[in-house]
């Protein structure tokens, strides 16, 4: 009986070459020293991705990517579908864990010098994987299409819109129009569900292929630098002499870690539940202090903390420099010491990076640059801006309060500081431009569009037209250069 089974297995193996496949993949030999607790993060990230693919597919069965239905289907999932909330929670926490473990993986690879010769390409594909994963997280938060998503997107657009010359086109490409609308959601859905996951799978294929061809980094020893001439040979002897098959020799810790990650995700999902959806996107209702997802909070702080005149440069040049530095890293430090004990600068870099991100996130959580939620009811329209105003203009001042413009805009320095102080706005913008700004938004400002009645727009603009110093005339079309598009 047993023999017969074996024969059948043999028959299949003869045709499918499964043992060979196994020997050259999961069973490939790795340095014994790499069976370390430090080496578990790669497989942990992979596991999270698998979880995301499964939960994501399940979510896609119910989710409808249209502006009016996205929110409803999510509410249905959360409150009606049995365990639908848990599915959403798993997907949300899976994404957080994936990025978290991925950062650990990256830090470990960096500290252990694993990116050095001959594994440059492994690092580069890894960096690309990081970007695609961030892309998935960003497009994922938009799927909720709630207020947080709206603001997250608003900030993303604000950064894009700063690109010189083609900024407006980029925003158009990203949002499928000048403002965040239903088309935006279809676009992000396609990215989130087809393009980015496809890319990530392809990149992982290359990444893993490289792990097989170039081997996994041995546990670095201080004082044993990488030399291009000898490294490959040294590595081969090492694997020959004291290598073990990855399965079953070195995989046990990965399995423990994977189990732990699964448990952690399942627990977080059960305890904290899914995120949102937190209210249909409505730019006039901002009392809940919406914020982009935790992961992107630091970007939001950077945008908020920078002095305005540096914003464009930093927000555009900064990421470009960062990306280039990451991609160039394995070529800049291609050989030499691998051990973190001999690379104080590397250790410092990692510490500063994590500390910086942590501090910025904290600043984002607590910053006064997020809309100042009480301004609309607590900061009076300054007396000078009330004096001599007509009844209509006074109504405009009231609309400005009531529609919570003050939460982002100061008058005479008092109020929120997300947008420019409006005290002298009439010297900068003409009536038409004011109408346009209010209705279409632009920059980090939401489009108020249908949330204002024509009379409210009239009053608002009439009031804003009075906001200029007594000795300076309001802006006129002829004297004003064309304004930056949204």
């Amino acid at each position: 009986m047993l023999r017969q089974l074996q024969q059948i297995a043999q028959w299949f193996d003869d045709r499918l070459h499964l043992t060979k496949l196994f020997a050259s993949t999961a069973g490939h030999r790795v340095p014994k020293s790499s069976g370390s607790w430090f080496y578990v993060f790669g497989s942990g990230t992979m596991l999270c991705l698998m979880l995301q693919l499964v939960t994501g597919t399940c979510l896609a069965f119910v989710y409808v990517p249209s502006a009016d239905e996205a929110y409803t289907t999510l509410e249905y999932l959360t409150y009606e579908q049995p365990l639908g909330w848990y599915l959403r929670a798993l997907h949300y926490w899976g994404s957080n864990f994936m990025l978290g473990i991925m950062s650990l993986h990256m830090a470990q690879v960096f500290l252990f010098g694993a990116y050095k010769y001959p594994r440059e390409l492994t690092w580069i594909t890894g960096v690309l994987l990081l970007f695609v994963t961030l892309g998935l997280a960003f497009t994922g938060q938009v799927m909720r299409f709630d207020q947080d998503a709206y603001w997250g997107l608003g900030i993303g657009t604000a950064i894009m819109g700063r690109v010189p010359v083609i900024g407006a086109q980029l925003v158009n490409l990203m949002l499928a129009g000048p403002i965040i609308a239903g088309e935006t959601l279809s676009r992000f859905f396609t990215l989130h569900v087809f393009i980015l996951p496809g890319t990530i799978l392809a990149l992982i294929g290359v990444h893993l292929r490289l792990v097989l061809t170039k081997g996994i980094n041995e546990y670095p020893k201080p004082g044993v630098p990488v030399r291009r001439e000898t490294y490959v040979e040294e590595y081969e002897t090492l694997v020959e002499k004291e290598g073990v098959a990855f399965v079953p020799g070195a995989i046990s810790k990965d399995l423990y870690f994977s189990a732990f990650v699964m448990l952690a995700i399942a627990t977080c999902a059960a305890v904290f539940g899914p995120k949102g959806p937190e209210g249909v996107p409505d730019p006039t209702y901002i009392q809940t202090a919406p914020q982009p997802d935790f992961l992107f909070l630091w970007v939001y702080s950077v945008a908020a903390l920078l002095p305005p005149y540096t914003e464009t440069v930093v927000l555009l040049v900064g990421p470009a420099v960062g990306v280039l530095a990451l991609l160039a890293l394995p070529f800049i430090s291609n050989t030499g010491e691998k051990s973190a004990r001999r690379r104080p600068v590397a250790v410092l870099t990692v510490l500063v990076a994590f500390l910086g991100l942590g501090l910025l996130t904290w600043a984002g959580l607590t910053s006064p640059w997020s809309p100042h939620m009480q301004a609309w009811t607590s900061d009076p329209t300054p007396v000078a801006f009330v004096k001599g105003r007509s009844p209509l203009e006074l109504q405009g001042a009231l609309v400005l309060q009531n529609k919570q413009c003050r939460n982002c805009h100061a008058l005479d320095g008092v109020g929120g500081h997300r947008g420019p102080d409006l005290s002298t706005v009439a010297t900068r913008l003409t009536r038409d431009q004011l109408v346009r700004q209010v209705i279409q938004g632009g920059g980090n400002m939401p489009a108020y569009g249908k949330n204002l009645s024509p009379a409210e727009v009239d009053a608002l603009v009439a009031f804003m037209m009075t906001l200029h110093p007594a000795n300076e005339l309001p802006a006129r079309d002829a004297t004003l250069s064309v304004r930056r598009s949204p």
Binding site: S390, L398, Q401, R406, D458
Partner: protein, 192 residues
């Protein structure tokens, strides 16, 4: 619960902090406080005035204030004894609209010297018949303005338009009807 803290954080934005000049009427004007009806006051604070910029504050209406907090506001604002009201011989807080045609005449008597012959603005007052303006204010706000005036803006009250001639309750209702009749007939926007 502290009235001042509540008022400063919730109302000062529109109704002014120290009662000097404000976009909406300052709520420390004794004439106004004697005029206003406590029930109406509570209703306005809780439910807002639909179609205007006065928001609803009651938590039931999506606002931030509890019933107890609203009580604190109402109690303090209506402290001025009803005695003042009688002593001043104030017209009633609310009344149905009067007759617009008579209102036009009342307007000429009491108001035109400041707001101009047709209400579009004159030497001492600006337009009060702008369609957008009228779309954004309630009839009650117009009535309140006529009776209690806007001391902060230089608008007298019902006793002060013509020296020695106090407006009668009927004249108040008529002139408000005249103003309201010029409001464009479009559906009021619903403000949440």
């Amino acid at each position: 619960m502290d009235f001042d803290a509540l008022y400063r954080s919730q109302c000062a934005g529109c109704h002014s902090r120290d009662g000097r000049l404000a976009a909406a009427r300052p709520l420390n004007d004794p004439t106004y406080l004697a005029f206003v009806d406590p029930t109406a006051l509570r209703r306005v604070i809780s439910e807002g005035v639909p179609g205007t910029s006065m928001p609803a504050f009651s938590q039931k209406r999506g606002g931030l204030l509890t019933d107890a907090q609203i009580d604190v506001l109402v109690d303090r604002l209506t402290e001025a004894t009803p005695g003042v009201r009688i002593a001043l011989k104030l017209p009633p807080y609310s009344a149905p609209l009067g007759d617009a045609t008579r209102g036009a005449m009342v307007y000429q008597t009491f108001c035109s010297k400041c707001h101009g012959a047709e209400g579009r603005g004159g030497p001492n007052g600006q337009s009060i018949v702008d369609p957008a303006y009228l779309s954004l204010v309630s009839d009650q706000a117009l009535r309140t303005a006529v009776v209690a005036g806007r001391i902060d803006l230089g608008m007298p009250d019902w006793r002060g338009y013509v020296p020695g001639r106090v407006m009668s309750p009927q004249e108040v209702s008529d002139v408000v009807a005249w103003l309201a009749s010029q409001r464009p007939r479009q559906p009021r926007p619903s403000t949440p």
